[in-house]
């Protein structure tokens, strides 16, 4: 583990989404980059990796096929030296003051999960700690934020503004969409003030809508809720469709993937496996291993897997980062094999919103506030898009379990004057029947057979019911809130002795009003569709809360945001708009944790754009 021969320009903590984007951008500019990845390696991208746990996509698929609970985590092995949370661990928190009892880390993680949940509402989202990060099981949704999403304070008088505007990010969105390979229609995406540069085309045409999308589109045309139209539109997706001809004058190689005037990233078209989460079997959906592969091919990037950052080291004046301390291991439940320090000129923490905040707070123990935390904002403002699910039967066959998990959505309710009082939301249309809310097709098949059906009667019932199942999911906005935060646990650690995340989480009235509106919008939509509403208690009911006497069941969206937010001053935020620490000149913190507010769009595309923005700033500072 000796890299004394290489002087790195940049050390990146995290070989996931943001880390891969940053590494590739910096390496293309001939900077020397070292990546420390806590988890196990990406099969086929590195040689000499002796870890037997490394899996390839086919092995992950078999794990998934054999899993009884086909959760986002199901294809991927748990790693007790770099553990990850699981949706199966999300339970109501009945006694937050009970002793944690986590003396044996492996047994404790197995029985209670990785997070130390203090509630009152359990945090419902998860992530992966392995090469490629959570990109392994992202859905693929690649929506841009709305101009108003960047200025909640100045437009609606709530929360904070971002230190950057939509226009500042627009060109970075272009870059992100070309790297990911987004399929969408420009004209359809010009909503709520979103603009594109002249002649801009997405890399690929929009993904075709499902049978369900088409039925909903015709029945919801002209229907409104709370002043918002409920038009159904195609969802921009990071999955391969039909390549677009690039706008006239775009030179070959201007974007890395343009050949003979058309977009071409060399990967397959989507085959509609209905499995984007937890894993695309054919990599038609982008994941960060693609960009990591390109970064490694430059020859400018070294990556150390199974290298868990344990401290950010500072100089005696606390002005600059001098190194990243990290621990190594050989097998996922084996012992620590050493503690080392990685050094470079610039440092980037791109380790996931929860892990990045945890690392900063674990560091600099002599100053209890941690690294990059003069503002006291590190770990604060933990946010998600808590989801409300509505499900029922369409009046006619809409044929779920076909196509990508989601191909269309309802974007009208994402913005409006109501945002001064309640959370906005977007509505995702699911193509997987009641799989998420009600365990389809398993639960219903068991019910049918258990009620005595067999043979032709069973087949008839399956054909009648399963062809009409559908669900919608509301991604509800959360505001930054001091009551929602993550700190390193004082009592519980992982197998390397590194503290686990202790999470405090709740919904304020703004978000609870969003849930109430989502339930009302479900009624509006189901009435317009002529659908039979079967919304009830979902399979994952751990995120239950009561508001005005009504029980709501929140689901995690996997969109973990806010824990190292950008802002305007060193007092209000962890970084500036370039994601550079206010407190340490050579430290950047990049990821969805950078978001000051959540907006309603799935955050990955915006995180990618932010990573490109940070990369530009870092390159400028290195030149």
């Amino acid at each position: 583990m000796d890299n004394s021969t290489v002087i790195y320009d940049v050390v990146i903590v995290g070989g996931g989404w943001a880390g891969s984007i940053l590494a590739n951008k910096l390496a293309q500019a001939n900077k020397k980059v070292l990546i420390l990845e806590a988890g196990i390696g990406i099969d086929g991208l590195t040689t000499g990796d002796s870890n037997q746990e490394t899996g390839n996509r086919g092995e992950f698929m078999d794990e998934f096929f054999m899993a009884m609970a086909k959760t986002p985590e199901s294809p991927y092995v748990q790693n007790y030296n770099a553990p990850r949370p699981s949706v199966l661990d999300i339970q109501p928190i009945t006694n937050p003051d009970a002793p944690d009892n986590c003396g044996d880390p492996v047994a404790s993680i197995k029985s209670k999960g990785y997070f130390i949940q203090k509630g009152p509402i359990p945090f419902g989202s998860t992530y992966e700690r392995r090469g490629g990060g959570t990109s392994w099981h992202w859905l693929g949704t690649s929506l841009r934020l709305l101009p108003n999403d960047f200025k909640m304070k100045s437009t609606y008088g709530v929360a904070v503004d971002w230190p950057i505007t939509y226009n500042d990010l627009s060109a970075y969105y272009d870059q992100a969409e070309y790297e990911i390979g987004v399929s969408a229609d420009v004209n359809e995406q010009k909503i709520h003030g979103i603009t594109f540069s002249d002649g801009y085309v997405y890399p690929m045409a929009k993904i075709p809508p499902s049978v369900l999308d088409l039925a909903m589109e015709s029945k919801l045309a002209g229907v409104t809720f709370d002043g918002c139209d409920l038009n159904v539109t195609g969802t921009p997706a990071g999955r391969n469709g039909v390549p677009n001809q690039m706008k006239e004058g775009t030179p070959d190689g201007f974007y890395p993937y343009v050949k003979d005037g058309f977009y071409d990233n060399g990967r397959r078209q989507c085959q509609g496996n209905t499995n984007c989460t937890p894993i695309c079997p054919i990599q038609a959906k982008y994941d960060a291993t693609i960009t990591m592969s390109k970064a490694l091919m430059t020859g400018n990037v070294d990556i150390k897997y199974q290298a868990v950052a344990s401290a950010v080291l500072l100089d005696s004046a606390n002005k600059e980062v001098t190194g990243i301390e990290y621990k190594t291991y050989d097998v996922v439940n084996g012992p620590c094999t050493g503690t080392f320090t990685a050094t470079g000129t610039k440092y980037i923490i791109a380790a996931h919103a929860i892990e990045a905040a945890k690392l900063l707070l674990m560091s600099n123990k002599q100053l209890l506030a941690g690294v990059a935390n003069v503002s006291g904002q590190v770990g604060k403002n933990l946010m998600d898009h808590p989801m409300y699910l509505g499900w029922g039967f369409m009046p006619e066959n809409s044929y779920p379990f076909r196509g990508p998990l989601s191909t269309s959505g309802i974007e009208g309710p994402r913005d409006g004057s109501f945002r001064n009082q309640r959370a906005s939301f977007r509505i995702e249309i699911g193509n997987e029947g009641w799989n998420w809310p009600a365990g389809a097709p398993y639960t219903q098949t068991i019910d049918m057979v258990g009620s005595g059906l067999f043979g032709s009667a069973l087949r008839t019932q399956i054909q009648k019911d399963f062809t009409r199942q559908f669900r919608i999911g509301f991604l509800i906005e959360q505001l930054p809130d001091d009551n929602c935060y993550i700190v390193p646990s004082k009592t519980c650690s992982d197998n390397l002795g590194i503290p686990r995340p202790e999470i405090h989480y709740s919904f304020d009235q703004y978000t609870q009003e969003g849930f109430k509106a989502a339930a009302a919008a479900t009624d509006t939509i189901f009435n317009a569709l002529g659908a039979e509403n079967k919304t009830g208690i979902p399979v994952g009911s751990g995120g239950v809360f009561q508001y005005e006497g009504v029980n709501y069941y929140s689901q995690g969206a996997g969109h973990v945001m806010g824990t190292h937010r950008m802002g305007f001053t060193p007092a209000d935020s962890v970084t500036d708009g370039d994601m550079k620490s206010w407190d340490h000149d050579n430290l950047y913190v990049v990821g969805c944790g950078s978001f000051p507010t959540t907006a309603t769009a799935n955050p990955t595309l915006t995180m990618t754009a932010l990573a490109y923005k940070a990369a530009d700033a870092i390159l400028k500072s290195l030149s």
């Binding site: 009884m68 196509g403 097709p441 068991i446 067999f454 043979g455 399963f466």
Partner: protein
């Protein structure tokens, strides 16, 4: 119970013809894998139950097709001694899963012996094709197939 008996019983329970469940040129060997579950010691199938199901099926296997479902209902599905074992055979064919006989199949209580029989069995689960779809994670369709309604398999 022999493999042949298992396949003919499975046809009566699932509503699919025996030569669909066990094709002449069978590259998947699903019926063999499901049949093996009946002798999987982990499944703890009471010998008396398996014997009774075998005997009952032997006594009604030659029933004319038009009467078969009524007889199966009366002799197997309404027979509380063997109904659950028969249901488990249906679950395996449709869902690819063996559900622990000692608990309600819809319960998640642990520990239990619920298990997917194999990746191949999962991919051949009948429920998916029945609804005009494919197993999640195993599509053989082409790009864009999802915008056109499928044809559902005929039920005889």
């Amino acid at each position: 119970m022999t493999l042949e008996e298992f396949v003919s019983l499975s046809a009566a329970l699932t509503g699919y013809a025996a030569d669909v469940l066990k094709p002449t040129f069978d590259t998947q060997l699903v019926s063999e894998q499901l049949y093996a579950e009946l002798s999987n010691a982990d499944n703890k199938i009471p010998a008396a139950q398996l014997d009774e199901l075998t005997d009952v099926w032997a006594s009604i296997a030659s029933t004319p097709a038009a009467d078969m479902e009524n007889i199966v209902n009366e002799k197997i599905m309404q027979n509380k001694d063997i109904a659950r074992l028969a249901q488990n055979i249906i679950y395996m064919w449709f869902l690819g899963i063996w559900y622990d006989l000692a608990k309600d199949p819809s319960s998640f209580s642990t520990p239990n012996n619920d298990h997917v029989v194999s990746p191949i069995v999962y991919k051949n689960g009948l429920v998916w094709g029945e609804m005009g779809a494919h197993p999640m994670g195993f599509s053989t369709g082409n790009f864009g197939y999802w915008q056109i309604a499928p044809t559902l398999p005929p039920i005889s």
